[in-house]
Amino acid sequence: MTATAPHGLAEPHGVTEEQAQTHSHAHGEEVPPASARPKLAVWKFASCDGCQLSLLNCEDELLSIAEAVHIAYFPEATRAVVEGPYALSLVEGSITTPDDVRRIHEIRAQSGVLVTIGACATAGGIQALRNWADVDEYRSVVYAHPEYLRTLDTSTPIASHVDVDYELRGCPVDKKQLIEVLAAFLNGRKPRIPTYSVCVECKLKGNVCVPVATGQPCLGPVTQAGCGALCPSYGRGCYGCFGPQDSANTESLTRQLVELGMPADDIVRVYRTFNAGAPAFAAASDAVAADARDRAAQERGPE
């Protein structure tokens, strides 16, 4: 539907000087034609849309990004569909259906670089809680006719199915990190993303240590940085949006949580949220659950 020129709209060429300066045309550079720019595709699997929304939330950078790359496939933002292959594919969401499995292989085949964005694509997301549950029971809790659904018993990260070039963490991803990843891959370099823990960010911000000062559980010591120690800055313990850091010492954290007086069930749930499927968190939660089972068996004594 094309409208007759609605009143009040700016003239197509009415860019003010101020706007021009924030635009990459500022130095008289012409934007290269779409065919000369690397093609970007954004794909979605089981997810909340939040990580791809992070790209649209780059209000200050969006128009420049659209000039640096050719946004070739991004259904949330555009009807236009440009055929692959794609220089860079951003993949959101986890694999939860038989069709997803087929589709991710097709996407890999037509992508130069494939980057997963967010906890669903990187660790399976909150929906990976089904990996510990009876999915038939879930189906019947939510749906009157479970037979209408086609779904797998597991929610798995993209890297369980195809080679992934880079995994960007977060629930959701941090938009500055997302821009860094775009810039790095467009320039053929490695992204500069810290892999130390939230504790480092928290100390750098000068926050009071939440578990020490308030006794609240905090996953900061075992969680990868990236959010800017957001939760501790708001007076609550970290709940692990960015997943386990390199060599996370979950055993030590579990001991501390026990000392804080948390029941085993609560500790299991602390590890099993948005990155429940990440190996380090999954193992930590399994260890606590197994330990609690053993203890309960001992208390019951021999049969």
Binding site: P6, C51, E76, D99, H145, S233
Partner: protein, 447 residues
């Protein structure tokens, strides 16, 4: 996608709807110029939130249910906190409610600005995306990005983060923002009031197709203000009204084969939630400036043309900016951020007005606060039947258009709802079939 069938009929397929949140499509069958079947297919996979919430603690739904939707997490956080506080018989403070409303204003601003300018306006101006639109309308797109950013800034301050805020809990907040922090955002929000009121005039100037239906509108209502973060009762254009606690007695969910999102009935019939419903049922609660803008846009106190939802959404955008400024101007430091909430066995409902319509949650918890049962009913799933009714009418009204134009018009009829499919399945495939035989020629992705 169009398929010619042997008998001269046609199949139009849109496997993946664009510029909506989440994944779905459309299926329309036309026989001898008569629309015989319409389906909104939602193939976004189910994530089973209601399943895995069982056994979690009553304090967890604000963080967990936020993840149902990256575009409207606050709607989920508000409905879940209200439900838990109702069950535990806790009243928070007026200041906590006010801060919840301010956070919700941020979400309305961010979500409405995204949909009005980046997802919906390209339909009226003839572009595939806002990025193309930006080349011809740089001032409009710059303004849109500025408005959206003001909403995100507000969510970042009050919620800690624009997507999946961390500062919300059952009982209130972890930390209250200060007057100084809020004041820093005031100039952009005040400018947002003026920009969005100007934008009402702009979008009111678009060409709107004539299409109206006699919808049953349903919305929250609050005695003191336009409904956002909560309401005291549900009202409907049918004249029915009842307290929020009674929602489950009036709204029934049911499962149809072509959708992974449950459909819903209101007192046994199709109904409509969202900006048009809210506006038509709460016009009297809008501010004088928003009412004036509506009059100037020749909207009337009730609007039944779904294509004009873009005007209503823009009026609500202006309202959210006005509310944000009002709340900031009356804010004083020193209020406790939360009240303690001890668990108590029981069942309760919480409801709020998500940008795309009424959302409600029902929970049952035990004495230890462990969730025994959860039900989450987002706006898009409630609107599926209305969307299908609109598709049927639009396809019939424009049946003589060529396939390309008809498909486009039908996609627009869906985008009028700002559907959020990630929400609805906590799942959309668009197809038009013109045929005598009735079988679509293409099964379509994921259906």
């Amino acid at each position: 996608m169009t398929h010619q069938l042997k008998d001269g009929g046609q199949v139009l397929n849109v496997g993946m709807l664009a510029r909506v949140e989440g994944e779905g499509g459309m299926h329309i069958e036309i026989k001898d110029r008569q629309v015989v079947d319409v389906k909104l297919n939602i193939f976004e996979p189910p994530r089973f939130y209601e399943g895995f919430l069982r056994g979690r603690k009553y304090t967890e739904p604000p963080d967990i249910t936020a993840r149902i939707c990256g575009i409207c997490p606050v709607a989920y956080q508000s409905a879940s906190t209200e439900a838990m506080e109702t069950i535990c018989r806790i009243e928070t403070t007026p200041e906590i409610q006010l801060m919840r409303r301010l956070l919700y204003c941020g979400e309305w601003i961010e979500s409405h600005a995204l949909h009005i300018f980046m997802l919906h306006a390209p339909d009226f101006l003839g572009y595939e995306s806002v990025l193309e639109m930006a080349k011809d309308y740089p001032d409009v797109v710059q303004m849109a990005l500025r408005l959206k950013k003001a909403g995100n800034d507000l969510m970042e301050l009050v919620g800690g983060r624009a997507i999946h805020p961390v500062n919300v809990k059952v009982g209130g907040f972890y930390r209250m923002p200060t007057v100084a922090e809020l004041e820093a955002l005031r100039p952009d929000l005040a400018r947002g009031v003026e920009d969005s009121l100007a934008a009402v005039e702009l979008v009111a100037g678009f060409d709107f197709p004539d299409m109206e239906q006699d919808y049953t509108y349903v919305s929250l209502r609050h005695p003191d203000w336009y409904p956002l973060e909560r309401g005291t009762e549900i009202v409907a254009t049918s004249g029915v009204r009842f307290p929020v606690a009674e929602i489950p007695q009036h709204i029934e969910e049911f499962h149809v084969e072509h959708s992974n999102a449950l459909h819903a009935r209101f007192d046994g019939a199709t109904y409509f939630v969202g900006p048009l419903a809210r506006y038509s049922l709460n016009f009297d609660q809008l501010t004088p400036r928003c009412q004036e803008a509506a009059v100037k846009a020749e909207l009337g106190e009730t609007c039944r043309n779904p294509f004009k939802s873009i005007i209503v959404r823009t009026i609500e955008l202006a309202y959210a900016f006005e509310e944000a400024v009002r709340i900031i101007d009356q804010w004083r430091d020193g209020h406790p951020p939360s009240v303690p909430v001890a668990p108590r066995a029981g069942e309760g409902v919480g409801a709020s007005e998500a940008p795309r319509g009424t959302i409600w949650h029902r929970y049952r918890i035990d004495d230890d606060g462990v969730i025994q049962d959860a039900q989450i009913v987002p706006p898009t799933s409630q609107n599926q039947a209305s969307i299908e009714a609109d598709l049927r009418l639009a396809a019939q009204q424009w049946v003589d258009l060529d396939d390309h134009s008809l498909t486009h018009r039908c996609e627009e009829a869906i985008r009028n709802y700002d559907p959020c499919i990630s929400c609805a399945t906590h799942f959309l495939d668009l197809r038009v079939v013109r045929d005598g035989a009735g079988k679509p020629a293409d099964a379509g992705a994921g259906s």
